[in-house]
């Protein structure tokens, strides 16, 4: 199980595809039902962030291992306008657009590890992991 699944995100339809890929991989990696749903929901939010702010991007996922822990790693990256103030963007309820402002902070709550790197004019990369319990 060393494979990586990559989904190109170009429109809202691709959000559903990325979520289904994530769900399938999470099940394959032995996550329980509740965690599979949390992972799918987190993928939905980061993929939606790409559609809403960057138009084009990728969500890739692969098995993750770290000192005896096993889980899933998800990377969402885009070459969109980037986020000027990441700290503000990670505040719950903050939205520059039509959203509820729960997407990125919500995804962080759903996962065990969450990291966001953004450069204005270059794009944004979100890396998140969840470990099997």
């Amino acid at each position: 199980m060393d494979h990586e699944i990559q989904t190109e995100i170009r429109s809202a339809v691709d959000i559903v595809t990325a979520r289904q890929h994530g769900r399938a991989l999470a099940i394959e990696l032995g996550f329980n039902g509740a965690d599979v749903t949390l992972i799918a929901a987190a993928i939905s939010e980061v993929a939606r962030n790409i559609v809403d702010h960057a138009k084009n991007g990728w969500v890739s996922m692969r098995p993750a291992n770290d000192s005896g822990k096993h889980g899933i790693a998800i990377v969402a990256r885009d070459e969109g306008p980037g986020i000027r103030d990441v700290e503000q963007a990670m505040q719950y309820g903050y939205s520059t657009r039509k959203g509820l402002g729960v997407g990125l902070p919500g995804a962080k709550w759903l996962m065990d590890e969450f990291d966001i790197v953004s450069k204005v004019g270059k794009g944004t990369t979100v890396t998140m992991k969840k470990w099997r319990r």
């Binding site: 809202a12 339809v13 949390l38 799918a40 939905s44 939010e45 959203g99 997407g103």
Partner: protein
């Protein structure tokens, strides 16, 4: 995939059959808005049993639909949110504030019946 909407007396039942894209949800909103007027419906049940994820967009859209239909004079109840889905929604901080929810279709019908009985008695002599 389009959501079929059944007319059952004074109620409409929108029974979601598969995973929905954003466009499907927008279509459902428009279709329900139109049918509530066409059939003079008093209540709407949206069955989300098959949804494996209700994310921030879907939550916002369900809220929009319920509030919009309320302005058109119909009560909405969302039924069938699965336990894992409900858990993920809570983790995401998503609520369906001001929107009726019930366990399943049967409970949804009971919910609407009791709401509308109250409404009729208010108008009584």
């Amino acid at each position: 995939m389009q959501v079929p909407i059944l007319k059952q007396g004074d109620y409409l039942i929108a029974s979601i059959q598969s995973v929905l894209s954003d466009a499907d949800l927008l279509q459902l909103r428009d279709n329900l808005g139109e049918r509530v007027g066409k059939f003079r419906s008093k209540g709407v049940i949206i069955d989300v049993t098959v949804l494996d994820v209700i994310d921030s967009f879907a939550t916002r859209m369900l809220r929009t639909i319920a509030h919009m239909l309320k302005l058109r004079g119909a009560e909405t109840v969302i039924v069938g949110i699965q336990p894992d889905v409900a858990f993920a929604m809570v983790q995401l901080g998503l609520t369906l504030e001001g929107v009726g929810t019930a366990l399943d279709l049967e409970e949804g019908l009971i919910y609407l019946n009791s709401l509308l009985t109250k409404r009729i008695s208010h108008h009584g002599p």
